[in-house]
Structures are given as structure tokens and as C-alpha cells.
Symmetry: none
Subunit: 197 residues, 4 copies
DNA sequence: GATGAATGAGTGTTCATTCAT
DNA sequence: CATGAATGAACACTCATTCAT
């Protein structure tokens, strides 16, 4: 009979967090290909072997890091989500929250971008990620029903209302562009003009 | 003792071309990280050492392959470029030519996408690439001057008039979307609505 | 905080027994090289660390498992040992008991074979093992004295009266041979013909 | 057009030979489990990576070393093979040649023994090995036909006419036995007594 | 120009063992 | 007594690159 008290941590949360941050930092700084397990371990201040206590293998480490961020983003952009607002305002709020998140966690966002273009991306269940973004997706669908948004293929819509965020936040693509509130507002105007009926 | 015949000059080009295609094929099929020099060599039917005759190192091989494709794209989308047409028509022509190119050379396009998100990307001189797209860029600038296109930051404009092409052509992003002429036309309408004044 | 109850003493033996069986099973199934301490622990349903309570290290675990089986074999083949029988009958009884043991505990026997050919084998005190087989050894010596058995070097004798059992019981060596009573009898005839004067 | 002269060795025979000897030496001295690729490489005076030029992987290195020795043994024991001699003499010749080989190449022989009891053993095509021993096998079969040798299962015969060689040559099994010509002769007498009708 | 051989440095992963709890 | 967490050292293997030919 063994009794665990609260202070007895079976796994070390501090290590797990350090590993999460180290993974993101290293991938962002050196790219996916160059981010070896031993380098990540060194960055996190732990032994390479320790990584395998927390994760089955490298793949699982990278994937779970990605999913955790995506989940985080999904919850942040839906904070104080008010379905009763006009559709344009809802989307604008999400748009701003997204840029705010990126401004606050540029490293997290950059990691998801790197991941999305890595070979690991194909190992993630797309549906699991999409469910974190259901509410805003449903708003778009409602907008089509109410004849406020153009009735076109959904992928085409997202290519104009969400995908430009990626482009605009990509330091590489937009080297000299500061996404301050004014520019975010301007960009949203273009996005809305694109999709509105 | 090695004897050279005159006809061996021909071989050079064949090897170089084979190397170009092999690089693209392997990167597309297995990703950047898994595309080793020896595997590319094997795919091209040459020795790994031979690669170093044509290219300084792996980096330079991948970069020059990228630049070559980008140059190719630049020249294709400007074929029969007619500056006298209305700005909307010019952009629409470029838009269609781009989708045509992607349909004809999905592997070339995919390579550029993979490359753009690899660490190698930062080693490319952005200006060198941009110059291949100067004519269409100038059209956008003229559109702003003539108050046909919104007078906003240039990066914001491109995020809506060019970047969606990438999203829409990405099989991963748009799994069930067939970019036929109708869908291309529709998407262009959104793009134009976004940027037009 | 750990609380011990009286009945936990029982657990020790259960664990030790589980460890014994797990060691044999894993070594037989995956070979010595692939039998890691953690895998043995998992097979036994205990923690790797627990093994080090019962055994100084991996080496000692494997060796003690070997010695235990050898001791077991020694006692089994000498059950109902009747020194007054004719020497041929005594040897034949031992011969049959050995084959019976192997038939009943193929896993135990296989472990000893694997062990005998592993580097661990050199760490075992040969004399300690031999003493478990003293009675039958003495019968051989008596046979020589009584001029029933050839007076040759003892190792040569055992190479014909005992060693063939190993060969005949080795599924790898004799893939299609079923050691039924008839074949055991036949083989003993050859063994006896070899050593008898 | 490339012309190779005789002195141009594509692969280095010296390295290959060193690798062969190093593999045998290390396996004999430390056992199969402890014989890592890097240790073998160090013993051979080459880089671990070089091993993979000559062999697909560790497995293939160990297996091919085994097969080479077995082939060697097969050819040696059949040197000056005279089918017209009496069967007993033929077998006795083979028996002596085998012991001579072991005396001359104890390391080679020990390697095959270690290999036969390693997990790698199951990866070898048994038939490929057996064919090197066909001539002597056929003599046994002829002996049975001619009613000179007992008509019993073949595996039982080999357990008495061949397998004891292994036991008698095993320094571990027969620590104090010197297999000089007299002892070899004696042992053969037992072997022949076992199998002869 | 072209090559197969060669390699030091690195990869992801597992190991036997220790230790705080 | 029993454990999960932790790790340095080792594993088999691949890498980008060089070099003699």
C-alpha cells in the first residue's frame, strides 16, 4: 500500500514545460531538419534519454507540441466569444485575437507554421485540430446562409479570411511590415471585402 | 587513365537536368530532411561525388534548384504580357497563368513551397527572386496610382492577390478542392474584391 | 508513506518466482542480447529497480537463474536413483529422465543452452554445477573400474553419453526429429555402444 | 571512358580481410552480444561507417563471416576426398581433418560455435550451409544402404558421429582435455562404435 | 569530368543502473 | 520493500563531404 502526497510529483512538470519550450525554440531557430533529439534535450537541460520518458519518440514529441499549441490558439481566439454580434464583428474579433496571440507568442505561432510544412504534418489527424476551430467555422457557415458572405467553396473562403493572417505574420514574407492595430484593421477590411456578398 | 570524347559534352547537360529532376522528386516525396546527397545522387543515376562538380555543396544544390524554378515561374506568368489591358484583366491573366503552371508542374511548385518553409530559404537573396516578378508588381503599383487598387501597404495587397494561390494549390490545405477554371475564376473575384478600391 | 501488512511477505516469493519465469521466457523468446533488465521487469510485472533488490545486477540475475535450473535438473535425474541396478540400466534411466525433463520444461532447458553459449557462462563456477551430477558421474567411474565401460578420458565419455542429448533436444539442430520413446531408446543404444567396452 | 588497371582496387581487399579477422576476434573474446559495430571497426582499424560499404548491416556482416568459415570448413574436410575407401576410413579421415582444422583455426571454429547459438543463426538458410557438407553426408547414407551403419534417423547418427567433435573441441566443455592424435583416434573409435551396425 | 571508397560527426533510440520518495 | 524518474554511455546506422584514381 503506497500513499502519494501532493508534493510527490510522479513526473516533473517543470521538465515537461522546459521540454515544450526547448522544442519550440530549437525548431524555430534551426528548423525541423536540424532539430535533433540531443539538441532539444541540451536546450531543455535534460538528458536525451529523459525525453523518452515523456514521449514515445521524436515524432510524438513534435506532434504533441504542435497539437498543444493549436489547442491553445483555438481556445484563445474563442475567449468571450459572442454569437449574438453581427458576423462581421465576430470575425473581426477573431482576426484581432489571432494577431494578438501571434504578437504575444510569435515563437508558438512560428512553430505551428514550421510544423505545417514539415513531413510530420501528415501524421496529425486533421479533424482533431479542426474541432478547436469549430465555433468560428460555424459563424462563416451562418454568414453564407444569411446571404452576408459569398456562397462559394469553403476552402476558397478560408484562403481569404484566414490564410492571409499566416502570410502577414510571416516575418519572412513580410519583412518590413509592422502589424500594428491600424494595419490589422486595414487587412481585415480587405479580407471582409473579399468574402462579403 | 581517362579518355574524353567530344560527345561527352552532351552528357553534362543530361546529368545536370537529371540532377535537377532528381532533387525535386526526392524532396517532394520524402521531404527536405530525408533528402540526403547520396539519395539524390542515386535518384539521378550519378555518384554523390559528381554532385560536387556541379554544386559547391548540398545547400547550393537546393538553392539553385529553387531559384531556377522561381525564374521559370516568373517567365511563364509574364508570357504575352500586355501592359495595355485593363489592370483587372492583367492580374486575372497572371492569376490564371499561375494556376496553369501549378497544374502543369505540380512537382516544381511543391518544391518551392517545401523550400520556402525550410531553413535554406533564409539563405536566398529575396531581391533576386522578386525581380522575376517585377512586371506584375509594377501593374499593382500603377493600379494604386490610378486609384483602382486600394492604397495600402504592399505586403497586405500581396497577401490577398498572390498568397491565396499558395493556399488554394496546397493539396494539404485544400484536400477536397479541385481548382478547375470555374473555381479559379471565383477565387479571383474574391481576390479582386479584396484589393480593388 | 508506505504501510506494510503481514501478508506482504508472501509477495516476495511471488515476485521472485515471476522474475525467474520472466527471465527464462524473455531470454528464450528474444535471446540474451535483446533481454534487457527493463524488459524482464515488465514481463515479470515489476519495476526494473525492484530487480536490484533481489539481484546485485543483471549478470547475477542471469547466472542465478541458470544455477537454479541446473540444480533442478540434477535433482530430477537422480530421483529414485538405484545404485544396485546394472550400470547400463542406471544410465538408461538417467537418459530417459533427462529427455523427460526436457519434454516437460523445454523452456528451462533452452535457457541453460542459451546460457551455456553466452559470455556469462564463463562467470559460473563449473565445480558448483558439476556437484549436482556427481551420482551419475560416479556410476560411469564404477563402470570403468568394472571394465564395463571403456577406460578413456572422462570428457570423451561424456561427449558420447551426455552431449548427444543436447544435440538431439535442440530444435534447431534436429528440426524434423521427434524425440519419442522409441527414438530416445534408439539413441541410447548408440550412446551405450559408443562407451561400452 | 574509364580504364581500370590491375593495381586499381575498387574495394580494398586488405580492409575486407581485416574486417573478417576483427569480427571473429572480437566475437570470440567478448561474445556476440558485446560485439558492437564500432568495436569491430576499431579492432579492424577502420571507421564504423566503412563497414557499411562492405556489408548492408551488422547482421549481414556476422552472417557472411559465418558462411565464409563454414564454406571454408566444408572444402577443407573434403580435400583429397577418396570415395573408394572403406566407409570407416573415409569418416575417420574427415574426423581427423575436422580436428586438424580446429587445431589450426581455433578462432574460426569458435566463431561458428558462438554463431550457431546466437539469434542470428535463425537468419541463415540451413540448406546453403548443408550443401558444403554433402559429400560426407552421402557417405553416411551409403553406409546405411550397405548395412555397415545403423539404419536410424539421420539426426541421431550425426549426434554421434559429428556433434561430439563440437563438444570435444569446446575448451569450455573439456577444459583439461588435449585433443592430440591419440585422443582423436580414441574418440573416433567411440563414434564409430556408436553408429556402426 | 567522374567516381567508389572512406570517414568523423552526427542521428534517434535503448541500455544497466541509481536514487529520491 | 518497492518504485517511476532520471541519466551517461552505448547502440546501429546515415550524413555531407573529400580524395585518390
Amino acid at each position: 500500500m503506497i500513499v502519494y502526497f501532493d508534493f510527490m510529483r510522479i513526473k516533473d512538470d517543470i521538465k515537461q514545460e522546459a521540454l515544450f519550450e526547448a522544442t519550440i525554440k530549437l525548431v524555430n531557430e534551426t528548423g525541423f531538419a536540424a532539430s535533433s533529439v540531443s539538441k532539444i534535450a541540451k536546450q531543455a537541460g535534460i538528458s536525451p534519454a529523459t525525453i523518452y520518458i515523456y514521449h514515445k519518440n521524436k515524432e510524438e514529441l513534435l506532434i504533441s507540441t504542435y497539437i498543444q499549441i493549436k489547442k491553445n490558439i483555438g481556445s484563445v481566439i474563442h475567449e468571450n466569444f459572442d454569437d449574438s454580434l453581427p458576423i462581421r464583428d465576430i470575425l473581426k474579433n477573431v482576426w484581432f485575437k489571432m494577431f494578438n496571440y501571434i504578437a504575444k507568442h510569435p515563437d508558438y505561432f512560428q512553430y505551428t507554421e514550421q510544423f505545417s510544412n514539415s513531413p510530420y504534418q501528415s501524421l496529425v489527424d486533421k479533424r482533431e485540430i479542426e474541432k478547436y476551430f469549430d465555433p468560428v467555422i460555424n459563424v462563416l457557415l451562418r454568414g453564407i446562409e444569411q446571404k452576408i458572405i459569398k456562397n462559394v467553396n469553403f476552402d476558397i473562403l478560408t484562403a481569404f479570411i484566414f490564410y492571409p493572417i499566416v502570410a502577414l505574420s510571416n516575418a519572412r514574407v513580410c519583412q518590413d511590415l509592422d502589424m500594428n492595430d491600424e494595419n490589422i484593421e486595414t487587412a481585415f477590411t480587405l479580407a471582409w471585402d473579399a468574402i462579403k456578398l
